[in-house]
Point group: C2
Chain length 206, copies 2
Amino acid sequence: MKRTDASAPRLRGRPRGFDREAALERAMEVFWRQGYEGTSITDLTRAMRINPPSLYAAFGDKERLYLEALERYQQGRRDELGPLLDQAPTARQAIERLLHEAARLYAQPDAPRGCMLMLSCTACAETSLQSQLAKRRADVKKALKARIERGLAASELPRGTDVDALADFYTTLLKGMALQARDGASRRSLVAAAEAAMRAWPARRR
Amino acid sequence: MKRTDASAPRLRGRPRGFDREAALERAMEVFWRQGYEGTSITDLTRAMRINPPSLYAAFGDKERLYLEALERYQQGRRDELGPLLDQAPTARQAIERLLHEAARLYAQPDAPRGCMLMLSCTACAETSLQSQLAKRRADVKKALKARIERGLAASELPRGTDVDALADFYTTLLKGMALQARDGASRRSLVAAAEAAMRAWPARRR
DNA sequence: TCCTTTTCATAGCGATCACTATAAAACAAA
DNA sequence: TTTGTTTTATAGTGATCGCTATGAAAAGGA
């Protein structure tokens, strides 16, 4: 095997025999599909094609590997969805496009169904992990809320609109869509739910 | 200890020293809080106050105990929510009351947050269990759809309303509310999401 | 009283869990 | 080459997993 990570400064000892990023990608897929508790080190080492000592040397332990895999997942989602939120001309269109894109991503054929973050540790014994994940999920709401507030400031929404409640509503729907996708819902069905949710958008005038 | 289950026909051997229903109730609580994979037999025997052989003699194995606990949970929910759906004067009010009642139940202080069914095995390695649960969750949609269809038949909804999509939407919201509750959402916040979702109800005239 | 039946608590089964001690292998520096 | 550093694969560690063998205890029937 050859060293594949050319970006790191050449160190002294024997070079790593596997691609750290590729291994992390494979670990992410397994965690995404099976969850934290449902995934064993054996599952991981088989998917990553490395032995346990290599895993522990490169990633610390199971929990840190999980968090790093989740961070990688979230970074990918932020890269896809962030510009979509920012660049939409109105808050309404931003949310609409976000939901449609989520419907597409959650039902992709070549990836685990649903959202790795939303479906993580929803009922699990790892309380410390659970609270960390709840916090990350709360960040999603914050992003929606910020975009909606921009729309309110631009007078797109009725004065006095409860932005927090609206952000909560669409976050709730995103979580529900993730679970629906995991239960086998088609992209079409997810899009229909997204479109129904857009009917709840506050009317311009009242 | 005394025999507590007086309804069963007296059998020959030594009488059971614990209340089967009470033990099942305690098992339900643990599974509800920690999920299937996050709960060990030790967790269960401690909560149920029995030893492993008693658990296996009375309930079969871990999976069957789980399914029986889940059935008990669902029966309770059906008893509370079923009449609410049936007796509401219109489909719209039926869904509205259901969502409000779900908000209350999901944020009860003396029970695990969220819904045992909706949060079960959302990402887990037990694929057979996962598909069973997906099926049970699909039954919730069926119940909503049936009620909405009644409303359509009673001309409460515009002709040509996509009842399936509407049922999917409110099921999606229910799943999302369960996840929100598990992440710490208040009853007030859940109610707000429910009310927002009711704005998506089809207009009477168009 | 004695036999049969069922449940009980103790103790422990093999398998798997997350994780690691060890030493050979593969590199850079001396 | 020699030395030092890091990664490698093998082969485990103790702990916990779901589950059960065993024999005493507690009941009814003979």
